[in-house]
């Protein structure tokens, strides 16, 4: 890509410099005539909190889908921990350590919160259909107890103890977002992809969510990729930011660098309604 400032990571991610956990090389994605992504290259360092921003329809979700495997790039390759994962199924990528949440809440609405989170443990549970039938003899029970403990830890962390037995579909929006995050965390991912984790939340809920995300990154050691429209939060907690516009990368760097970039300003100013959003959110 032409001249996007490839930043030296800021202090907080300093120790992780030059140790990419994920890399995209010249990724393009087309849907018929629609160019969702055009030759996007970037990398994410291990331990980083990396944000992807851009106007509506810029290709942010498409990029995340290319990482998680929901979409396969039309051109270009993607690498995770140095391995080419372009041809791998989403479930294979998940078991390698890529977890995600969805822009439109995607909880299993008819299941309990606990069951939702247990589904996230799928690739960690050894007990399969056959050994499961021999529950008491195969140590499946021991295994389950260990899982329960870890799951309880996640539940405590995200402060959803009081709803653990509730049916997920009955919860408030903010709580559901938290349960969805818990389910993704249950996978024990090394890289977690959060598609607009704060969309539709009130200020207090947003602050909570920002705190969880920072803790996941700092305490739980997860590398985080976040798509978010709230510039205030993005600039506050990200180590590095990538800006997409019409499917192209137009900037990448520390929050300050990106904010100062004239192309970023034009991208946002170019869309009238978007401008209002950004100003409101920054305010």
């Amino acid at each position: 890509m032409s001249g996007a400032p490839v930043a030296t990571p800021p202090d907080r991610a300093g120790e992780a410099a030059g140790n990419p956990i994920f890399e995209a090389r010249n990724v393009s994605l087309r849907f018929g005539g629609v160019r969702a992504l055009t030759e996007v290259s970037f990398h994410i360092n291990k331990g980083e909190l990396f944000s992807i921003i851009g106007p509506n329809g810029a290709g942010k979700t498409s990029m995340v889908n290319c990482i998680s495997g929901r979409y396969r790039p039309t051109e270009g390759r993607v690498f995770f921990k140095g391995k080419d994962i372009t041809d791998m199924t989403p479930n294979h990528r998940a078991s390698l350590g890529i977890g995600r949440t969805f822009q439109n809440l995607a909880l299993f609405g008819h299941m309990t919160v606990l069951d939702n989170i247990m589904v996230g443990r799928h690739h960690l549970l050894k007990n399969n259909f056959l050994t499961g039938a021999l529950y008491w003899f195969t140590g499946a029970r021991q295994e389950e107890l260990a899982h329960r403990r870890e799951v309880e830890e996640i539940i405590d962390f995200l402060e959803i103890q009081h709803v653990r037995k509730a049916t997920a579909g009955t919860l408030s929006y903010g709580l559901r977002k938290r349960v969805e995050l818990a389910r993704a965390v249950a996978l024990k991912p090394d890289l977690i992809l959060l598609d607009e984790p704060m969309a539709g939340m009130n200020l207090e809920e947003k602050e909570d969510m920002a705190r969880y995300i920072v803790d996941l990154n700092e305490e739980w050691g997860m590398t985080v990729v976040m798509i978010e429209h709230d510039m205030g939060v993005v600039m506050d907690i990200s180590h590095r930011v990538m800006v997409l516009d019409f499917g192209r990368k137009i900037a990448e760097g520390s929050p300050e660098e990106v904010l100062a970039d004239p192309r970023v300003r034009t991208a946002y100013l170019g869309e009238e309604d978007e401008t209002d959003d950004v100003q409101q959110e920054v305010a």
Partner: protein, 297 residues
């Protein structure tokens, strides 16, 4: 009114209905996981029963060895069927997939007649005593066994979906395949597993009916009885399938009673469930327990 006959028929209805429920559950399992309406469900009973019969008669295996082998075979058969025939159909229109399962049903039906002939063949006796006494009533052991097996399978299903890894994965996949995949669930594996379990469970029902009535192609009628049962219960509800099965079983026998006592039209046994089905669908178009937004096919 002949109360003794009525009582007898109601008991009959529960026993047969529980079996319908079991077959309906295994039908719903496939539908829930992969949205495939399996018109070859009845042939699973047929194949399972003939396999077990063959192992017990031609190979002279005792039941406790022949039966598990039958289950293992049906599991492999279900997986093979899904992988070879139905996996390539993913993404094809629903009607094409339905035509394929109808085709399978016809092929299996013919194949079984070709291999085993057209006449009913009895199972070698499995229980030491033919009847047992319950509350002073003499009841055929096979009927009790049939009911017990049905209940065990139902409890097994409940346990499986609530606590097992694969059961949770199946529920997740039924709800949203993309999301399930993002959580590390192999949707292909879930599809194959749903066919494997469905084939196994249907085979159990097939063996039970075979032990009671002998094995013949009449067994595959269960595949047709399943439709009023699952549509009553809602195509995508496992609990609904069980209740639907029980209702159909009771209805048949009740209709038979009314017919034999007063109407004397004959054949009410066969068609009554379908009449009631139509009436219920007029009142509750999604079945008694079905989800509102599912497709009617």
């Amino acid at each position: 009114m002949n109360f003794e006959l009525l009582f007898q028929l109601l008991i009959n209805g529960v026993i047969v209905g529980a079996l319908y429920g079991v077959v309906a559950m295994s039908f719903v399992l496939i539908y829930k996981a992969s949205r495939i309406v399996n018109f070859a469900q009845g042939e699973f009973l047929l194949i399972g029963a003939w396999t077990c019969w063959w192992l017990l008669t031609s190979w002279q295996l005792p039941f406790w060895i022949g039966f598990p082998i039958t289950l293992a075979f049906m599991m492999a058969f279900g997986i093979l069927l899904q992988v070879v025939v139905l996996r390539p159909m993913i993404g094809e229109p629903i009607i094409s997939v339905i035509m394929v399962t109808i085709g399978l049903s016809i092929v299996f039906q013919a194949l079984m007649k070709w291999i085993f002939g057209v006449f009913a063949k009895p199972f070698p006796p499995i229980f030491a005593s033919q009847t047992m006494s319950i509350f002073g009533l003499d009841v055929q052991t096979v009927y009790i066994a049939s009911l017990v097996v049905s209940l065990l399978i139902m409890a097994g299903f409940g346990w499986f979906f609530k606590y097992s890894k694969m059961g949770l994965a199946m529920r997740a996949t039924a709800f949203d395949q993309q999301v399930a995949q993002s959580l590390g669930i192999s949707v292909r594996q879930v599809f194959a597993m749903s066919w494997a379990i469905s084939a196994m469970v249907s085979a159990v029902a097939g063996v039970v009916v075979g032990v009671v009535n002998g094995v013949s192609s009449a067994l595959s009628f269960f595949g047709i009885k399943v439709f009023p049962a699952v549509i009553l219960g809602g195509l995508d509800s496992v609990v609904g399938a069980v209740l639907g099965g029980l209702i159909v079983g009771l209805l048949e026998n009740f209709a038979h009673f009314i017919d034999s006592q007063w109407l004397n039209w004959g054949n009410m046994y066969e068609i009554a469930p379908f009449y009631v089905l139509i009436i219920i669908l007029m009142i509750k178009p999604y079945g008694l327990f079905g989800t509102k937004d599912i497709e009617r096919v």
